[in-house]
């Protein structure tokens, strides 16, 4: 009999920080204390605070350990597992050993992520123990129209970005004529810094499969595909395991729950092209063609995969479905705002203390998300903006921190909910350079099929490159807005239509930064290499001569042993060699 269960996070982030080694070390120690029969290690999906990995959660007490090294295993086993004394130095905060006492966890509301980090995703029995596949069993006894009505009543909207009402989409596919229909799960998560879907697939793959099966029953499909990027090897492996287990128990395949409903799912791996997250490009890729979008209409609901009616939803959308069936549409709709129901999973990244994966009720403010759950900006820096929605999203400044996080409020301010990537920016971030980074990404990922996107992204990028190099003109700002507007209206797919958003939103909220780059040839955040000046802080300089030796142009000047040195700005080519060479941090970048 087991008396202790150790839930070891083995999501991609914790595996990168060494959870496998921690597991081996724990097993060794358990073996040498003869505790292997009493203590069980369960590998789970992502628990959320990726920054603090590897993390583990010890039950029955629910003690939460962070940044566990293989060397810590001996102490954890001998002190905690044997003697019942938690290892205090490994707690997140002293005196708060349990997750529910830590704001990062207590302010969240986990629905989609409920099983992530609490069950072993490679054991279908553990999913079933949480009520898994009950929803499917219930649904196949209902009329499909009832299922669709429930999803409509719940107010669920697509979690992939655009927020289209899920029930309405299902209804359209149901109504489309054709005897063959398909269900596709869009797991082609491509936004830089976003990993919500990966975490769900890794931590609770059955929830997605069950959601797809329910959708298939509702729309009348018998075949499904998960389109997942090949860069997610762990998610793919866990999906494969989950599919095999579900088939073995007859939860996928012919005559599910002894009904007339048959459904099975195939995996398709994407090669990592951002545009393949767009639904028509994704379907082209599944068909074996080049992943390029086509004009809509006709929409996939009537003309989808191989010309057949197709339902395509995102990973998180499907993962919500079983909760609507089991808990009821009304309970689901009780959470959130008037037009955005339920919860949303976000990937918190950037200049924030608690980076990681969080799930919050819709309508929570950005301030609560960034400061209460995210812990705010690390010490010594000021919050500047939050970039939400990835390359298709926008930047919101500090003055909009009280904006509720829901589809409509965010888009009103020029950002989008998107798939849920949230990047926190501090005062050391140059907004022009940040916009340039995203434009560089979309220019690179533009498939090239339509002119507005192919040429527009390149033109905008060229202008931004000029501005950050200190060669911009006032006319450039007008041009950026013009090209952006043209791309929004004329591009074929969402990639081009939304690519200007990072630029347009920073132009809207941070125009003075663009002007400083253009008129003053200065980067206020001290980021853009051409627009900064290197100076020696006299008090910090020890006269070690390192900067003079590193400088290729003789701009760093002085005599060894005689501090302070100085940097002659007229000779400086802003290569940063002195900055990197100074062992005392005495060389500083400042706006020109």
């Amino acid at each position: 009999m087991r008396r202790i269960q150790v839930l070891l996070c083995s999501g991609t982030a914790c595996q990168s920080s060494g959870s496998d080694k921690v597991k081996r070390a724990l097993l060794d120690e358990l073996g040498s204390h003869d505790l292997l029969s009493e203590v069980q290690i369960v590998e789970t999906g992502c628990m959320g605070p990726c920054e603090l990995g590897p993390v583990l959660l010890v039950y029955p007490e629910g003690t939460f350990y962070v940044r566990v090294k293989p060397d810590d295993a001996a102490e954890i086993v001998s002190e905690h597992f044997l003697k019942g004394r938690p290892v205090r130095r490994l707690l997140w905060t002293e005196g708060a050993p349990q997750p529910q006492e830590i704001p990062f966890f207590s302010r969240q509301m986990k629905l989609v992520l409920r099983n992530c980090g609490t069950i072993d995703p490679e054991k279908i029995e553990e999913y079933i123990a949480t009520g898994g596949y009950e929803a499917l069993g219930k649904v196949v006894t209902l009329d499909p129209a009832q299922v669709i009505a429930a999803v409509k009543e719940s107010g669920l909207r697509g979690r992939g970005g655009a927020g289209f009402p899920t029930g309405t989409k299902w209804e359209l596919v149901r109504a489309a004529t054709g005897d063959t229909k398909y269900v596709i799960c869009n797991a082609d998560e491509g936004d830089p810094g976003a990993f919500m879907d990966r975490a769900i697939l890794e931590g609770d793959p059955h929830a997605v499969l069950e959601g797809m099966a329910i959708a298939a029953y509702a729309v009348g499909a018998s075949r499904g595909y998960v389109y997942v990027r090949a860069e997610y090897p762990l998610a793919i492996r866990r999906l494969e395991v989950a599919l095999a287990q579900a088939r073995k128990l007859g939860l996928l395949g012919a005559r599910i729950f002894e009904s007339d409903f048959s459904f099975d799912i195939e995996l398709r791996m994407g090669a990592g092209a951002f545009v393949c997250g767009e639904e028509t490009a994704l379907m082209a890729s599944i068909e074996g063609r080049r992943g390029e979008p086509r004009p809509r209409p006709p929409y996939p609901a009537t003309h989808g995969l191989w010309g057949k009616p197709t339902l395509i939803n995102n990973v998180e959308t499907f993962a919500n479905v079983r909760h609507i069936v089991l808990g009821g549409a009304a309970a689901f709709a009780a959470v959130g705002t008037e037009k955005s129901k339920g919860t949303k999973v976000f990937a918190l990244a950037g200049k924030v203390r608690n980076t990681g994966l969080v799930e919050v009720p819709m309508g929570i403010t950005l301030r609560e998300l960034v400061f209460d759950i995210g812990g705010g900006v690390p010490a010594g820096r000021e919050f500047k903006a939050v970039q939400i929605g990835g390359p298709s999203g926008g930047c919101l400044p500090a003055s909009l921190l009280d904006t509720p996080v829901d589809y409509d409020s965010l888009s009103r301010h020029g950002a989008i909910m998107g798939s849920g990537g949230v990047i926190v920016l501090d005062d050391a971030t140059c907004m022009v350079n940040m916009a340039r980074f995203f434009l560089e990404f979309t220019a690179d990922e533009s498939c090239g099929k339509c002119v507005p996107c192919r040429v527009g992204t390149q033109m905008m990028l060229a202008i931004l490159n000029r501005i950050v190099a200190g060669e911009g003109t006032d006319q450039d700002l007008v041009r950026l807005a013009e090209i952006g507007d043209m791309m929004k209206n004329a591009s074929l797919c969402a990639l081009g239509q939304t690519a200007p958003n990072p630029v347009l939103s920073t132009l809207r909220y941070f125009p003075e930064e663009y002007r400083a780059h253009i008129r003053d040839r200065s980067c206020p955040a001290g980021v853009c290499p051409n627009l900064v000046r290197y100076v020696v802080v006299p008090e910090a300089c020890r006269g070690c001569d390192a900067c003079r030796r590193a400088c290729p142009t003789g701009a760093a000047q002085g005599t060894a042993g005689k501090a302070p040195y100085r940097i002659a700005d007229e000779l400086c080519i802003r290569c940063g060699a002195c900055f990197d060479a100074c062992p005392f941090g005495a060389v500083k970048k400042e706006p020109r």
């Binding site: 009999m1 609490t118 123990a129």
Partner: protein, 127 residues
Amino acid sequence: MKLDELRKIRERAEAELRLRGGPSRVKIVVGMGTSGIAAGARQTLRAILDEVARRDLRDVVVTQTGEKGLAAQEPIVEVHEPTRITIYGEVDEAFARRIVTEHVVNGRPLSERVVEVREVRDDQPAH
């Protein structure tokens, strides 16, 4: 697969997840401080685990705690129930098995070796 077959799998699997905060009727806590271990708490704990497993008691959680400050009466075993906590002292293997069979299974707390019985009010959960 029928729905009631699924529910059977669910019942079996719920036992696995019970330790992770699921419902448990009784929690048995063994004091495993240095003096507890010196007095034989390891053997006591093993006996309890063995007895619980043998009887397939699915609503019982067994766990350990640190020093309680009662070194003279170690090994200490606490039985946590919704309305009271019973603390036994000098629990050897044989007595540990009796705690499981008599107190936990038959619902008849033992009268010997009781250190303390603490009533638990609704607003003060046992654990």
